[in-house]
Amino acid sequence: MSSTQVLSRNAILDSVRANQPAARSMPTIPHFHTNQPADLLATFSQSIARMAGVVVTDHVRDLDSFLRTKFPDAKIICSAILEYAGTIKPASLNHWSEASTIDVCILRSPMGVAETGSLLLSDLELQVNTIAFLAHDLVVLLDPKQIVENIHDAYQHPYFKLRPYSVLMTGPSGSGDIGGIVVHPAQAAKTLTVLLAPAPEAGRRTG
């Protein structure tokens, strides 16, 4: 740290110490769970639909066939999951900006959030973080058993204390900046499709 930086740091901290009000206590934060048994999958599906994400409830036996049917013009399919090869893997990208060549990206999320319809992704699943943003269309596998009730539960996930990058992704990109009407896409993915699929066996990791 330069001498100017040390001066600035000390000046700010001194000023904060001199001005901060008398200490107030930190409240206890409840988890706000509903007491009734909730259909987490149904709530998740409704929540993500409000954000323009789509959940495919039918079991998809043949992933390749599903992708070819849904995205017939896709040339580059990047797979970040073990159970599907795709046409490329994230590791084959030399630069993170090369992810813009991806038509469809397939990923697995380790957690869904019923309250908001969010999917957790981190640098562990993505390997190249930009694949989730520069690819045109996203397909995300989610184990229905890995859906938690609310955001309080979600932030208990160890990723938020361990991973360099993590994101709660809720639908494709959108913007309401013109006329207050939300349109999709904005800068990132154009569509987001969730496929329900049990997590790989213990010991096998995605990627």
Binding site: V16, P21, R24, Q156, Y165, D177, G180, V183, A186
Partner: protein, 464 residues
């Protein structure tokens, strides 16, 4: 020393365009209604507001400790932490980082702090091209205007305005006013900068002391692209944005988007704890008057703000005068109580751009007593002799009349006759701010006191 911003005069210009004014009012009120509906869906909404307020007050009252904790954690994660006392120091740090890397293009996501520091002109004067990647912010950049709203910087513009602007700047079809088409034009024109810019910049909605993480919420994905695609990620953050733990973050995430747009969450709620392999991440902790405000007994609560803009959407003055009328980085009710801490004379008129109806306080997710603070700032302006002569004289007269019942009764009794006989110029002049854009309402022929004297029950009627 700058002359006071005349919000009322600026608002006149906006009001003269009735189509824009009516549209903005309708749009913002719809956002307020969506916020109400979203809040009703959460049974613990009021408890969350109380928690958010208490967490912020706890953090701000222990701010030095949390700043040090964040610095230690972030540094351990491989983040380089900088400290900036003011806007100039902040801008210089950013420039030095870019210059060191030989960068001439910067992609950045929306950050009110960088607006506050006037970073963009600072960098542009030094030969660095800055591309704002938030759609609304980019529209404002192309139109050479500051943001008019914290969440939707170009919310005051119509589709037609944007179509014409994009056609001039990007060569798109000026007659195509479809929102999806216009968002597509932005996407096409911004994507190359994302792919080629060596550096990206974001602000932060929250900073987590416990983990050294910064948290950014967007709908467009532009912050994730700005931070993840280039080799260099710079994050500017005000020191008041710190919260203690990831557990406490949940409270704010549940409140933020619901208060802003009525959505349960933003499309992307991203957490950056450290750089990827081979890349660099810098966080600049900026004071710029915040630590001083922390010592203002009446006003430090404004530092709890999470920038949701709910107070703007509900404010009748903001909705009808537009954000640019405030001539300030932060506008609307929250701007009124923040801006005078930057420059008291320049923003001395802002506390009067309010009806003090308290709606802003009622919707604030962190329970800032906004309208009480607005009133408090009026008192400060009076104490510091910052009130215009006309306003001061009017208040002096009102004080005299209202504190003397006989004078008050005489004034109200003669009002009706006076309005009938006085010539137009005597009623509508610079002393009557109310009558600037409105017809003075017709006074009743009888005051309440006169009516009461006629209709009050006789003493013996009451006894009976």
């Amino acid at each position: 020393m700058s002359a006071p911003v005349d919000q009322a005069k600026n608002a006149e210009m906006f009001l003269s365009d009735t189509a824009h004014e009516a549209r903005l009012d309708k749009l913002l009120w719809a956002m307020r209604l969506r916020r109400d509906a979203a809040a009703r869906q959460v049974p613990e909404w009021e408890e969350l507001r109380t928690l958010a307020s208490e967490i912020k007050e706890h953090t701000l009252s222990n701010l030095s400790q949390y700043l040090l904790q964040f610095e230690a954690k972030a540094s351990a994660n491989g983040v380089i932490v900088h400290w900036a006392r003011d806007a100039h120091e902040h801008n210089q740090i950013v420039y030095d980082l870019l210059a060191e890397q030989g960068t001439d293009i910067l992609v950045k996501s929306k950050s009110m702090l960088t607006e506050e520091c006037e970073l963009r002109p600072f960098l542009e004067r030094r030969g660095i091209r800055v591309t704002e990647t938030d759609l609304g912010e980019r529209i404002q950049q192309l139109d050479d205007q500051p943001p008019a709203h914290i969440v939707g910087p170009a919310i005051h513009k119509t589709n037609h305005d944007v179509a014409v602007l994009f056609s001039q700047k990007y060569g798109s079809d000026a007659n195509n006013e479809d929102t999806a088409y216009l968002a597509g034009v932005m996407r096409e024109n911004t994507r190359p900068d994302f792919l080629h810019a060596p550096a990206g910049m974001t602000g932060a909605n929250f900073v987590v002391a416990e983990t050294g993480a910064i948290v950014v919420a967007t709908n467009e994905g532009n912050a994730d692209l700005s931070a993840n695609t280039p080799q260099l990620h710079i994050c500017s953050v005000g020191i008041e944005k710190i919260i203690p733990t990831t557990e406490s973050l949940a409270v704010f995430i549940r409140l933020l988007a619901r208060s802003a747009t009525g959505d349960a969450i933003t499309q992307y709620t991203s957490m950056f704890r450290g750089p990827r392999k081979g890349a660099a991440m810098h966080v600049i902790l900026v004071d710029n008057g915040r630590s001083e405000r922390l010592g203002m007994q009446r006003f430090w609560h404004s530092l709890k703000c999470i920038r949701c803009a709910a107070c703007m959407n509900t404010c009748p003055v903001y909705r009808r005068s537009g954000g640019l009328s405030y001539g300030a980085t932060y506008m609307g009710p929250i701007g009124i109580i923040m801006m005078p801490t930057f420059e008291i004379r320049k923003y001395s008129e802002l506390p009067f751009a309010s009806t003090l109806n308290g709606s802003c306080t009622n919707v604030c997710p962190v329970k800032i007593d906004i309208h009480e603070q607005i009133y408090g700032w009026r008192e400060v302006m009076e104490e510091n002799d910052q009130i215009q002569v006309v306003k001061k004289e009017a208040m002096r007269v009102a004080d005299k009349v209202l504190s003397h019942p006989t004078l008050y009764q005489l004034a109200t009794a003669t009002l009706s006759t006076a309005l009938e006989v006085l010539p137009h110029f005597a009623i509508y002049n610079r002393l009557n701010a109310w009558g600037k854009h409105r017809e003075v309402p017709q006074a009743t022929t009888e005051t309440f006191h006169q009516w009461y004297r006629t209709h009050r029950p006789k003493t013996n009627e009451v006894e009976r």
